[in-house]
């Protein structure tokens, strides 16, 4: 398969042309015996500094480590418990946590997953060069695998692939919620998962066991460590703001000189159709999520009978922690304290980690293979009343060129007519659409036959919209910066560059919980947006002014509509906060309350934007308002309540609506 190669579009992302050939690993599976494959001789490439060690030895190395011994003594003297007692606790924590990776389990999965994957997917495409790079990287330095997280499938797939390519099997940091599924949990444990409690905030001992466990495996080159920077599965298919805790743990052995380097390998996993698609939409709408139980997963058998198209796994270039940290981290800060004494990362380190995490997620985004359907989904969302097929074809083609010009990693089938491509996509996603008389529109296809209330109707429709949005969201990162500029141009005071920049900055700041925007990059982002739109002939960027070209209107209009659901959604949240009279609003009550507020607006015909119902959007908006200090958390007794600064919220709302131009004072306050 030939991928579109990407243009070098920005000095900041010197994008290597992604000429990688993809290999469909299922092809071989469809040709030869799965059993033989599962039992094949597995001889992984090994790390040259490997300290051979059995899983059982691992435990005692961790428990005997200076670091853990130190923390055990410390906890014991603080709590008054005997250190034997604390050590015992540490040992139990480790038992609860530790993986029990066994090749036999992997072989079992190799067999069963082969069967499953072949039924689910048309193809599973892997970039071969990425595999070769990984093969190299694995030998040189300990490796950390950082896949994107969109589905439960992700880590099974990762281990499956590494087994396939004779790469060392990873150990995977997984959330504890799996553990409630007894059997599955144990199976996953035996395929390399280790389990971390969701929250263990101040628990020193837990943290010590956990971090030492991960570091020991890393230092000894025991196995590649795999974890999800985003922390959890993204229900929206937008990348989530990365977490830095585990990143810090895997980088520390380098900071402290225990390892010469660590290779971070971002992996982008994308699905043509997501298995959890409607589950996610329901979850975002507050339709309660079934507890992850084994039986629940079994029900997912129904899933097996459907067609999920292709899946893509792109192994990115290994990122050396050493080069990342060059000039940013002064490693001698660790000189004056014995290295086993845990140290909170310094402010500098923290900033570095955060920055690195964002950059890694950006790499994941950029390497995400996109299918034509994401373009179609984008257009269908912008046209709630639907489109004629001919017009859809025309617009899709236009959008395809725009996306490519902006550097999208688009997998557009070679030499196929646009209409052909579109009808294939529509067929795969038919459950979200209705096509009749050459007209296509989003629609509820599996509506129950029984009478429904207007509220239920709204939710049914919302499920479709949010499902569809999860595809549009995959390409948002491509349009994001130009779209912010497009909106900024509309709302800015004037065409003056600094005015536009101010508006841009305001929006960027507003949406920094919503999208992946690297902290401190606002100027580069602005420049990049200008550059891309200039290159497209949409704008002219003069010395002091930014002027729209005659032909630029449609592009700018498209780009602004890309952000429209978010602008509207945030305004709804503002409106709610201004109108809300409950003085003791808690964070917990916030989401349901905004949801019913938005629902009312929709039912009243005053709001068309179903995405305002998404709890993800609402959560992000609240986080932004808290960050911008328009809302504050106040402790009243045991409860934390939200205190709203209505004037500030009001003015944010106005600015988002483009009513009053962004003024310096507002910016300054931000």
């Amino acid at each position: 398969m030939e991928m579109e190669s990407r243009a070098l579009y920005s000095p900041r992302h010197p994008m290597l042309k992604k000429q990688d050939d993809f290999e469909d690993i299922l092809e071989e599976r469809r040709r030869s015996s799965d059993l033989r494959y599962a039992l094949r001789c597995y001889t992984p490439t090994l790390y040259r500094g490997l300290v051979p060690c059995k899983a059982s030895m691992l435990k005692s190395i961790v428990l005997q480590s200076d670091h853990l011994q130190y923390v055990i003594k410390q906890v014991s003297s603080e709590s008054g418990d005997s250190s034997e007692c604390v050590a015992e606790e540490a040992s139990l924590i480790l038992d609860e946590m530790a993986h029990r990776l066994q090749l036999s389990t992997i072989r079992f999965f190799a067999f069963t997953l082969s069967k499953a994957f072949k039924r689910l997917f048309r193809s599973v495409c892997v970039n071969e060069e990425g595999i070769q790079r990984l093969q190299q990287a694995v030998q040189e330095h300990p490796v950390v695998l950082l896949p994107s997280h969109r589905s439960y499938m992700d880590f099974l797939m990762m281990s499956y692939l590494l087994y396939t390519y004779d790469l060392p099997l990873p150990v995977i940091a997984a959330g504890m919620d799996f553990m409630s599924m007894k059997f599955v949990g144990e199976m996953l444990r035996m395929s390399g998962a280790f389990f971390i409690r969701r929250s263990f905030g101040g628990d020193k001992l837990y943290w010590a066991v956990f971090s030492e466990y991960v570091k020991t495996m890393l230092r000894n080159g025991y196995a590649p460590i795999e974890f999800f920077l985003e922390g959890t599965r993204s229900r929206t298919c937008k990348s989530l703001t990365p977490k830095t805790g585990l990143l810090n743990i895997v980088m520390e052995p380098f900071f402290k000189g225990e390892l010469f380097d660590v290779n971070l390998v971002p992996v982008s996993i994308s699905y043509e159709r997501i298995l959890e698609e409607s589950l996610y939409a329901r979850e975002l709408l507050g339709i309660p999520k079934p507890k992850e139980s084994t039986s629940g997963l079994l029900k997912a058998r129904r899933v097996l009978s459907e067609d999920y198209g292709s899946m893509y796994v792109y192994f990115g270039h290994p990122v050396s922690v050493r080069s990342l940290a060059e000039g940013k981290i002064n490693r001698s800060q660790y000189n004056l304290l014995p290295r086993y004494i845990p140290q909170k990362p310094s402010a500098d380190t923290h900033e570095f980690l955060n920055d690195a995490a964002f950059r890694l997620v950006r790499i994941q985004e950029e390497n995400m293979v996109l299918k034509p359907w994401v373009l179609i989904a984008t257009l269908l969302l912008q046209n709630p009343d639907g489109l004629d097929l001919s017009s859809l074809a025309e617009q899709t083609d236009w959008l395809r060129h725009l996306a490519l010009a902006f550097g999208a990693f688009l997998d557009w089938p070679d030499g196929e007519a646009c209409s052909e491509v579109i009808s294939c996509s529509l067929a795969l996603h038919r459950h979200l659409l209705s096509v009749s008389a050459g007209h296509v529109q989003l629609s509820v296809t599996d509506a129950p036959q029984v009478e429904t209330t207007p509220e239920e109707d709204v939710f049914h429709r919302a499920v479709v919209v949010l499902s569809c949005a999860s595809y549009r969201n995959q390409i948002l990162h491509v349009f994001l910066r130009p779209a912010l500029l497009a909106v900024a141009m509309q709302s800015a005071n004037s065409n003056r560059k600094d005015d536009v920049y101010n508006s841009f900055n305001f929006l960027r700041n507003m949406f920094s919980n919503e999208f992946i925007l690297c902290p401190g990059d606002s100027f580069q982002d602005f420049e990049e947006a200008c550059y891309l739109l200039m290159k497209r002939g949409v704008l002219q960027v003069l010395e002091h002014e930014i002027v729209m070209s005659a032909s630029g209107h449609s592009t700018l209009a498209f780009l602004s509509s890309v952000l429209d659901p978010f602008l509207q959604g945030y305004q709804v949240v503002c409106r709610y906060l201004c109108e809300e009279t409950n003085e003791n609003l808690t964070e917990k009550e916030f989401i349901p309350a905004v949801r019913s507020f938005a629902l009312k607006l929709i039912l009243a015909g005053r709001l068309k934007c179903y995405e305002a119902l998404s709890s993800d959007l609402q959560k992000n908006a609240l986080a932004a308002f808290l960050r911008l200090k328009a809302v504050r958390k106040v402790k009243v007794g045991e409860q934390e309540t939200l205190k709203v600064n209505k004037i500030a919220v009001n003015s944010l709302e106005d600015t988002l609506g483009g009513k009053i131009p962004t003024q310096k004072p507002i910016l300054a306050r931000l």
Binding site: G257, F260, N330, R331, S332, Y334, P338, R339
Partner: protein
Amino acid sequence: MASNSSSSAQQRLRIIAGHLQKRPEDENAGVAPQECKAEAPRSEPSSTTPVPRRRQEIMKWNGWGYSDSRFLFNKKGQAEFTGKRYRLSGLILPSLKDWFEGTFGANLKHRSPATPSLNLSAVAPPNLNQPFMEDLKAAGLSVSHDPEDRVFRAHGHCLHEVFALREGRIGRVPDMVIWPSCHNDVEKIVELACKHNVCLIPYGGGTSVSSALECPREETRSIVSLDTSQMNRILWIDEKNLTAHVEAGIIGQDLERQLNERGYCTGHEPDSMEFSSLGGWVATRASGMKKNIYGNIEDLVVHIKMVTPRGVIEKSCLGPRMSTGPDIHHFILGSEGTLGVVTEVTLKIRPVPEYQKYGSVVFPNFQQGVACLREVARQRCAPASIRLMDNEQFQFGHALKPQVSSMFTSFLDGLKKFYITKFKGFDPHHLCVATLLFEGDRGKVLQHEKQVYDIAAKFGGLAAGEDNGQRGYMLTFVIAYLRDLGMDYYVIGESFETSVPWDRILDLCRNVKERIVRECKERGVQFPPLSTCRVTQTYDAGACVYFYFAFNYRGLSDPVHIYEQVEHAAREEILANGGSLSHHHGVGKLRKEWMKESVSGVGLGVLKSVKEYVDPQNIFGNRNLL
């Protein structure tokens, strides 16, 4: 190999003579039982071998050491060492060629010879301060502005310094050389220098490896190299208090030999002791191989006299320890010629030990070796010297095995022989060796030896004989000569050192070695470099680590620059891994940029204000350290 010969006149320490000096026994086959101890006297009368004023008469002007001693590949392609001075002298080293070509990807056909002689016209005419000259003449002090004399004193032994000389490139050199013969001469010179505002650079043995002797390019005044070599007398020996009062220009081998003749020694044996001077040691905070028994230079000095532009600084008595505020000796120690001239030093001396014994231990890997050294230090039972070489250095040591010599019974042959029985399980690509030197009275040495070998055994270490130990020490003395050989065939290299807490040694060694390899690769060095280390000193709280780094520079347009970039990166790596800026080589101008980071801004300010007070005119203008 050891003896307990009692005649003190014959008791000679195995300093240079011990490590290197050719002795008649060497010609005889068979291992003489007295090998280590009973050194034959030198051919020259021992007490009268001062360093000549015209050093170039016996020493190389563009390389290391004595002119008569050098490595070369003979017509048969075999390495040999010329001259008569050293144990290796006149011997063939059959395995050196293969090691050399294999390690560096070098080829004996590809030569990069040095400019044969100094091109006098390349030396800028001296910038002489006439009134100063006249005053010196009136005071009866002898000077020279002969270009050879000046060029000789314009450098130490950093790679870039020697490389430039080999290419015939001469930078800023002192405008004249002056040889005081006593403390009073120095006082006079310093006084006149202040009066006429000339720049003085003290010169001891010229073995500096920190660019300390380089003339600052920006210096516009007349630069005078103050050569201390003629101040080389032992002024008195006090047997009651075991101290000796010595002029600071004396070089290590002369000091030790003369004390030995009286039955004493200082025990201070830096690897450069053939040429480096007492004053140089004080000025750089030198460290000797046997510091475990005798201490480093700061432990050895009882009293120092230094002439500064403000006058003479010294203490009023010879008390062994004082609580009189910060120790003023510590402003002098390590001052690197920036404050004044050390003229006389009172040193502790010890009776020459009755017995000496080398030893060696082979470990399965470097980690085990370090763990053993750590345990030895914990139990505070380190022998006079204990050094742990990594695998590359172990192999290097092997390449230096001479063809026929009783001394050098083949370790590898031996190894092969009992590989099956004894060293089973040792991977020749991982094993490493510790070399040991014990000294003291015979009974105690043997007891001590057993203690150390017992500890070693706990870490998988197996005793590997005295020869290997001795050859290990020899390596350090010939390494500087070997560098010249490398430079004849496109190979350049250098050593550098640090000190580091015990728990960081392994990480630091691995990271620094790897950083070197990587930096070389990134800079286009075609063949992987030699990047190797050893632990050379142990302390309660850490150890000194010494690195060798060399590479084949064929195809590179500016090899010295690349070399310097790599060394710079290696130093950054050391600092990032908790190592110090220097354990004993000092700062000079080479490592100045890291001083502030190393001692804090305030610390540097303190040093600056001392300089400001002592030498406001910057007469001692070599611009080291600060």
